[in-house]
Symmetry: C2
Subunit: 320 residues, 2 copies
């Protein structure tokens, strides 16, 4: 099976499970909490959970599906709260939760999903101790995600953010949830400690690469394709590897912290390309993916391991 087939199959299974679990929501808060979750998404974290499980225990990964859902729910919860903080008005082509409802409902909607994620993890079939370990890993990841988001916000008012600081922020904001996806899939499938550590780090590096690619997509891809406001990072003064590398090369992006026309964005992309920023950022992402892929070479050779390697490569080549 090639990666795209695998991702499509997983996406379909995840979507079906989400519909089964949440399709009947009639309370307003239930609808608000599953609004983004049911608006689609590539279900990449669930795929990583399933593949990690398959990579350490050849065969079906159906048993870890509730964990795969738990990771998607956690991701969706963070999006709901982040959208409030960032004041973003649409995502996945639909209005964000605080826009369609209101802020208090969006805060609660995120909180509901958060709890549901832990409920799903509790439901996985398997030994209690492995589940507790997985739950602890998810909880620790959530703490890191909050710290990452807080760093990200605090960077907006700083012009002296360094690349190491940016990488720490990205490891927490995005890397750790992929790390937990791979780690939890491994733990619940009975993987060894060494396998769990390798997969956790693999997830961390590929997740960081994913975020760097996301930063590129933010500026390169049109809104109708990405479903997000184009160049919102630049307009909001977010610090990304793009803005940091641009500054290194003497281009100050803080003057673009305002409404931007399509022409201005296109012109900016041309400049970033010309002075080598786009190339440098792409290379940083590729390097992270390579580090991740090297780590999982310790796993037994299997289709799942190959697909995990493909997923890293896909993360940094996707256009949206």
């Amino acid at each position: 099976m090639d990666l795209m087939q695998y991702l499509q199959t997983t996406q379909k299974k995840v979507d079906e499970n989400i519909e089964r679990a949440f399709g009947g929501e009639r309370r307003e808060l239930g609808k608000a909490s599953t609004h983004l979750l049911r608006a689609g998404g590539k279900r990449l974290r669930p795929a990583v959970v399933m593949l990690a499980a398959e990579a350490v225990r050849q065969g079906s990964s159906d048993q870890v599906m509730p964990a795969a859902l738990a990771l998607e729910l956690t991701h969706s919860f963070t999006l709901i709260h982040d959208d409030i903080m960032d004041g973003d008005s649409f995502r996945r082509g639909v209005p964000t939760v605080h826009t369609k409802w209101d802020e208090p409902t969006a805060i609660l909607a995120g909180d509901v999903l958060y709890a549901r994620a832990f409920e799903f993890l509790c439901k996985v079939e398997g030994p209690g101790n492995a589940k507790v370990k997985a739950i602890g890993m998810l909880a620790a990841a959530c703490v890191d995600i909050c710290n990452g988001q807080h760093m990200d916000m605090s960077f907006e008012t700083r012009e002296d953010v360094t690349v190491p600081e940016y990488l720490e922020m990205v490891s927490k904001k995005t890397g750790v949830l992929y790390a937990a996806s791979a780690g939890i899939g491994c733990i619940l499938a009975g993987g060894s400690e060494a396998q769990t550590e390798a997969l956790y780090k693999y997830g961390m590096y590929t997740g960081m690469a994913f975020q760097i690619q996301d930063d590129l997509i933010d500026i390169m891809t049109t809104s109708d394709k990405s479903g997000k406001d184009r160049a919102s990072d630049i307009r909001e003064g977010k610090k990304t590897l793009i803005t940091l590398k641009a500054r290194e090369k003497g281009l100050d992006l803080s003057e673009y912290r305002r409404d931007l026309s399509m022409d201005e964005i296109n012109e900016l992309v041309k400049t970033l390309d010309r002075i080598g920023v786009i190339r440098d950022v792409r290379e940083a992402a590729l390097e992270l993916v390579k580090k991740g892929n090297d780590l999982i070479s310790m796993l037994p050779d299997s289709e799942a391991r190959h697909l995990l390697i493909d997923i890293g490569d896909y993360f940094v080549t996707r256009g949206y």
Copy 2:
């Protein structure tokens, strides 16, 4: 040991554990997330966790201390988010988190504590399956709390809220966390299913009574004593058993939905007392406590069981 001694001893232990775990926070988000937690509080939910554990397994309850902390953290997380939604500016005599920091930080501060609560539950010594059951109970409680808070907010724009609707809201917003406190203490101490059910329901009823008493305190107790804005429920148009019983007796409190002077509040309390609202509300609380106490008569006779009964009585007699 009498109840006040027991509560003081538990409070001291909980405070020490909180200081040990969080006293060294240096990141701004760490400080924000533990701001309310470290501002004091009676630590009633931890006491219920410990007493429930002692009631089913005679002897020390030190083993469940991390669970007791988990329940206090969960409570503190809900306060941080509720304060944002309700726009309250001080609590426990200190500025609320979104007032001292800002809304985005307060959202994240709550989210951090939420995760930490699950981390603490994972740390309890004991069999994995019991922990998973306890974690599932806490997660389900969190879902209910969100639904309760959402009902509470939606009541503000409705003048036809019924007493059963109010009781459902209170069971979710407040009852369920006391229910989970008693249930989790029991599960982790190796209690039987029947004991867990009895203690869970005991916690539910006494927790509901606690909230009804809180509604009374909101209007009866001065701010310097309670640490909260006096009569905020009335000013914000919240529906409480007081406002519903008043409406039954022909007194419409919606005209008090505005800034109120101390004299106006005192006058209002006098009226509520004269027409029998205060008495009716007190009786409803007492009845719930009695139901809770009857349920735990199935537990073996012990000091802990007596203290659980005392705690219910204390909930509805306390002045703040």
